[in-house]
Amino acid sequence: MRPRGRDPAPRPRLAALTVIAAAITAGISCAPITGPRDPSDPWERMNRGTFRFNEGLDRWVVAPVAKGMDFVLPDPVERSLAKFFENSKIPIHFGNALLQFKPVSAVEDLARFVVNTSIGLAGFFDPASHLGLEAHQEDFGQTLGVWGIPAGPYLVLPVFGPSNPRDSVGLAVDSFSTVYPWFIPLYASFSIGVGQRLNWRSLNLDGIAAEREAALDYYVAVRNAYLSYRENLVRDQKEDETDDEDLYYLD
């Protein structure tokens, strides 16, 4: 079973990404910096620029479309769609669970995929969870982390948002290994990606608005959340989480 169009499929996406990245870095060289550099974010100046671009994209394009979607589709439908997208990614999670030497997670993922794709009607429903099969969202960025590869500095990607060099590689590898580009035309797989993103945005309209509204420095709030969240995912199997001395004791 040789996948058709495996080679050419994701390439235009990467090419587009590079062009956008170049355009933005050229455009934001006058971005302001506030405060001294955080050790986790040596590229803050560039990142703030990209972040501002992403925020603009969200404000003028993504959020309005997502709002339209939210208006048209009832929430249960959107949640069902989210389940469908999530289910279609399980093969990737399965592969990454194996690469991270987590056989139990891999078997659970596989079982989830079989159950939800069949009884769950292509993944729009999630009977697997009712059977006690838990989801494990292992991606290649985490796999690299488990293998001991450092994350590198915080990096905001145009369009894709918060990341770091390790997770960027992970994102690229995972999108190469998605099932869609092998079996369906590029425009269809691209639409699925966009659809998933819009659906997610539509489900999070209020939440993101509240975060934006509440933060004193939204850029820093997002950076901290991303770094903590990813670190937490990578170390999920490790029991001893006692490295927060600095956080909870001031002496």
């Binding site: 959020a63 079982a111 079989v114 059977l131 099969l133 509204e213 903590s228 909870y248």
Partner: protein
């Protein structure tokens, strides 16, 4: 830990499905057997902290469920419940960390007050979004220096399955929450990073000024968002 519990409303799984389920249950049981050799009894500290969280969750959910009470009143009720079990002074200090010393006594007092108001504004507005979620306590862990972390999970609604940890510290008055960690994202750490960047740019004055601005704007927003439809407040 309750992977094996199947509710009676479910239809009996057939053939392959049953096999899969059995296989998973066995694997999960094996895996947890390796991970946790022998069930460990809860320590006294863990039991004490757990009781505080369990009470707080019950009281908060009771307020959230009763939608007949006006929003403003429910926010006040939640403040009473939550701030009674949170050590805001410790939290405020941990958030400022080393910068705490840069604040004068009056500034410290002002900051603790403004930070409290800021938390109320940030989270109070969200109570309209409550949608019949439940909270399950899934574990507890005593940290080396005596703090206790209570692990909970949200059931139902848009945050189904989200993990929320509460870190508690023993004070004279009892166990008090000093941090809330949602999916690995610590409130204290998140505010610390934000405030650090502000204090290092403009000192304590700038942080106090920004908090006051936010709080003033937040209260105006409170009134408008109570009147408008949920979802209209975006952007």
């Amino acid at each position: 830990m309750t992977k094996t519990s199947i509710t009676s409303t479910e239809r009996r799984p057939q053939g392959l499905l049953r096999l899969l389920r059995t296989a998973t249950v066995v694997l999960v049981a094996l895996a947890s057997g390796f991970a946790a050799p022998g069930a460990r009894a809860m320590t006294e500290s863990e039991a004490g902290a757990r009781a505080v969280i369990s009470e707080t969750v019950d009281e908060v959910l009771a307020v959230l469920r009763d939608k007949s009470v006006p929003t403003e009143e429910r926010i006040r009720a939640l403040e009473q419940i939550v701030y009674g079990r949170f050590d805001l002074y410790v939290m405020s200090r941990l958030v400022l960390a080393r910068n705490w010393k840069r604040f004068s006594e009056e500034q410290k007092e002002e900051y603790v007050k403004e930070f409290k108001q800021y938390l109320t504004n940030s989270y109070g507005n969200r109570i309209e979004r409550y949608d019949q979620q439940e909270v399950e306590i899934i574990g507890e862990r005593e940290e080396p220096r005596g703090d206790v972390v209570i692990q909970t999970k949200i059931l139902g609604g848009e945050f189904e399955g989200a993990l929320v940890d509460y870190r508690l510290r023993k004070q004279d008055a009892g166990w008090r929450v000093i941090d809330v960690v949602i999916e690995g994202i610590s409130m204290v750490s998140n505010y610390r990073d934000q405030f650090k960047s502000i204090v290092s740019t403009g000192g304590p004055e700038l942080l106090l000024q920004k908090l006051k601005e936010k709080n003033a704007a937040g209260m105006v927003l409170d009134e408008t968002s109570a009147k408008s439809q949920p979802g209209n407040s975006d952007l």
